[in-house]
């Protein structure tokens, strides 16, 4: 368990106290602003982080952008106005708040603009921190470089045809303070991420295999066994003999990374309720209706232990809690931010997230996944008369209005009569009509795994997320 809602460690408690001492004035700033306008809030964020990239004949060790700053939010009862600055001293922030209130009061809404009555937000008021079993801060940079380059060299040595091996590693700790009329909370969120990639060549063609580890927590999440490295090297070599998949519609079993991407793209983005407000999501018309087989259960949960998209409080002050998106194939409800929940008159969920203080909050996913079923993964694969096991999704794209979906997987293994034939296809583009793909979910396995990802809203607003689930069996179009 790498989330901590209980007592903080002494180090985390000291950090929380420091955040309160430094940014405690934000609560007073917000209360002052609300003497003149109906709603105000403040968010302060800072980040420390390290990024390593190790490869043949080249290394880098860089600090992450601290992204330190404050964003003040104000409403005049019709719309929001915000001001963002990297100045964090009391006087500068108070001046900014005064200017923002003046600007907000002066903003003229169009005659037909409805009122924006923001209810008491019930913001969390505690201190929260991701717990660490192996604190990255306790390991020297020299030891990290030695450990990760050792793994990289070990992977590279596994195949004579290797032309390159890369290890990328990142750790970061985001410290955040949110203040509203309800009070002030702090959170310390730590994430680690590592990928080992081997590139092999037969002289003409290059392919790759990889091992990835990540999550909310410390170095304990990055354990890699010898067999993991061997699997990556073996896969890269196998892929040198892979072909394009003959275009067509197939019975498929998806691995957890692909299952998670289906959840994310199919009914993740489409259930972000700012999309409801913009009338971009067809799902808005299907709340309470069937959108998949009764085996389909999809959840978004920022509290899922150790998953990459974890947090304790969203960026608009809402305490983190899971949201059931689909239960037994029936669409339940969406993921909200403050603005869309207020406009739509629906309950808030803890999904208001910002890329940084320089950007506005939107309704965003956290950790989105299919829930487990009853079968073993072997049951699913054994049921394939002729089908494919889709593995290692690399990216996906949604179309909540048209309910189209595009997923790009690294490779697929062919199965006939429930057995692998040895044929590999790579890469594989999966497209489909979301309701068809979910209606065709005929088996759900009892395994479960989560992967880290970076999620954009359109092509920007990148936030860390997790996605995953068990193996599932469905049917889709491949090319």
């Amino acid at each position: 368990m790498s989330q901590s809602n209980g007592p903080l460690s002494s180090r985390d408690a000291a950090t929380a106290a420091g955040l309160r001492e430094r940014f405690g004035f934000l609560h007073d700033v917000v209360l002052d602003m609300e003497r003149r306008i109906p709603y105000a809030a403040a968010l302060a964020r800072t980040r420390t982080g390290l990024r390593l990239n190790l490869r043949d004949a080249e290394q880098s060790a860089d600090r992450m952008d601290p992204q330190e700053g404050i964003v003040l939010t104000a409403s005049n009862g019709h719309q929001l106005e915000e001001a963002s600055t990297d100045l964090t001293d009391v006087d500068a922030v108070r001046r900014l708040a005064d200017d923002l209130v003046e600007r907000t009061l002066a903003a003229k809404a169009a005659d037909d603009t409805p009122r924006l009555d923001i209810a008491s937000d019930g913001a969390a008021t505690g201190d929260f921190a991701t717990s660490l079993h192996e604190d990255p801060g306790s390991i020297s940079l020299a030891d990290k470089l030695s450990r990760f380059d050792g793994l990289r060299r070990q992977l590279r040595a596994l195949d004579d045809r290797a032309v390159q091996a890369i290890c990328s590693y990142s750790e970061h700790e985001m410290q955040q303070v949110f203040a509203s009329r309800s009070g002030l909370n702090t959170q310390q969120i730590r994430r680690t991420n590592m990928a080992l990639i081997i590139f092999v060549s037969d002289g003409g063609r290059q392919e790759y295999g990889y091992v990835a580890r990540s999550g909310s927590g410390g170095m304990e999440l990055l354990s890699v066994e010898d067999e993991d490295l061997q699997r990556a090297a073996t896969l890269a070599a196998e892929l040198l003999g892979s072909t394009s998949v003959p275009a067509g519609t197939y019975d498929v079993v998806t691995d957890p990374s692909t299952t998670g991407t289906i959840a994310h793209e199919a009914f993740g983005h489409g259930m972000e309720t700012d999309m409801f407000l913009k009338q971009r999501a067809r799902g808005a018309e299907y709340i309470g209706k069937r959108v998949g087989s009764d085996l389909v259960n999809i959840v978004d949960d920022p509290t899922l232990p150790a998953a990459y998209g974890c947090y304790f409080v969203d960026d608009e002050g809402r305490p983190a809690a899971p949201t059931q998106i689909i239960r037994d194939g029936i669409l339940q409800g969406g993921l909200t931010d403050l603005y869309s929940a207020t406009r739509l008159g629906i309950a808030r969920t803890s999904n208001g997230r910002r890329e940084s203080v320089q950007r506005k909050a939107y309704a965003r996913m956290s950790n989105t996944f299919f829930e487990r079923g009853e079968h073993t993964p072997e049951d699913l694969l054994g049921s394939l008369d002729h089908g494919l096991l889709l593995c290692q999704t690399e990216n996906g794209m949604e179309d909540p209005k048209g309910w189209g979906m595009q997923i790009w997987t690294h490779y697929a293994r062919e199965y006939r009569g429930g057995k692998p034939t040895g044929r590999l296809f790579s890469p594989v583009a999966m497209t489909g009509y979301v309701p068809d793909v979910l209606a065709d979910v005929s088996m759900v396995a009892n395994d479960f795994d989560m992967e880290a990802g970076s999620c954009g809203k359109g092509w920007k607003e990148i936030v860390p997320v997790g996605s995953g689930g068990p193996h599932i069996r469905t049917r889709c179009r491949l090319a």
């Binding site: 600090r63 963002s84 600055t85 590139f199 290059q206 394009s244 971009r280 920007k460 179009r477």
Partner: protein
Amino acid sequence: MDQRLIDALRRHPEIDDWTVRHQHGRSAQIYLVGTTVENVRQVDREAYEVEVFNDHDLDGERRRGSATIPMSAGDLERLPEVLDTAAAMASLVHNPPWSLPEPGQELPKVQLSDPRLASTDASLAAAREAAEQIRELAAAEAPNGIRLSAAELFANSVDEELHNSRGLTLAASSTHLLLELVLLARRGDDEAEYFRQAEARRLDDLRIAETIVDGSRMARDKLGAVRPQTRVGPVVVGGEALPQLFGGTAVTQTGALLAQASAATAYSKLSRLEVGRPIYGDRQRDGDAVTVRANALLPFGVASYRFDADGVGAQDLLVIEDGVLRARPATQRYAQYLGLPASGRPGLAQVAAGATNSAQLLDGGEPVYEVVAFSAPNVDTLTGDFGMEIRLGYEHGPHGVRPITGGSVTGNLFQALADVTLSSETRIFASYAGPVAMRFGSLQVAGSD
């Protein structure tokens, strides 16, 4: 530029070289949901990024380590501690030596700024005016069944300075606009959307009126569009789909063509291209010869700049000529590693025009699929493999033209270019400039079986 930082870097005994980049950015952002203003934002940010170098010996060889340290305002108040950490990081990194750019190079004068965005207040006023224009233009499309779903407009300006330990001192200013526009078309119970993200250096270059008219037409066309048939055959890629094929993504700024050509990729032994050799892999050319430049000098180009992160002046580099790799775009470091001239960060991929009118690309006696928008760019920068869902396209066949949507187009960019016909008309996008349409002789389309 904070002189305390320069002084501290000069004094530090373990820092052998350094580069400081200072940016002061201002942004006005306006968000519409339908015709309602959701949020109006002002952003002010001052950022320092310091790259420090430490030279040392390892196993008898001279090595250069570096560490890049983005700084907050608070870091400037504790410089000794921050720079000690940076120097220690650099001392643990062991790379072959390379040197920083020296003063004396003549930098290009590249036009990068819209004078209308000279201040935050001016940017905010321009953004409000543009938002009003969007509302009015969308309202004018209402008789055609079109309404505005959402729009976001960012008007950004950046003043930047670069100083390095060799005495190089550079400055540049630029503006950048981003428009995200969503239009909805309705016919009966059917609805379809048009999504566009456009970037420009000048407000006028966003071509808001044209974007809304074109977007309205495309949203209407998507109503009733059918899925294409699965087949291998000619595909014409045009309009917004071309930058999706040749430009970068949210993750990779440079598209597959220039990424594979780059010195950095070659140094990592991950380039499939060789200088002096055709780019088509094992395929023989059976179409127009492809010529591609990495152009960072295009006036008001989104990918244009005055100097890159090392301080190398922008260039317009001939990369591929008649299908043969001629030069590798090389940043300072990789240029020295490979013994090439430094050309700086590559700009946009600029493909030379062909000789065929775009309308003729759709002829040929057999049914042709034309794709004008993919759902998202997805070209593997290592292999050139691509697979993209068709957001909107058209089937040109014996029975006329009908819109298509859904399904996918897959292939390999390098192999596909062996059999391409390029239009004579050209257009400039943010990450791609060149023919407005390309006909690929044989690509896999997956749709209805």
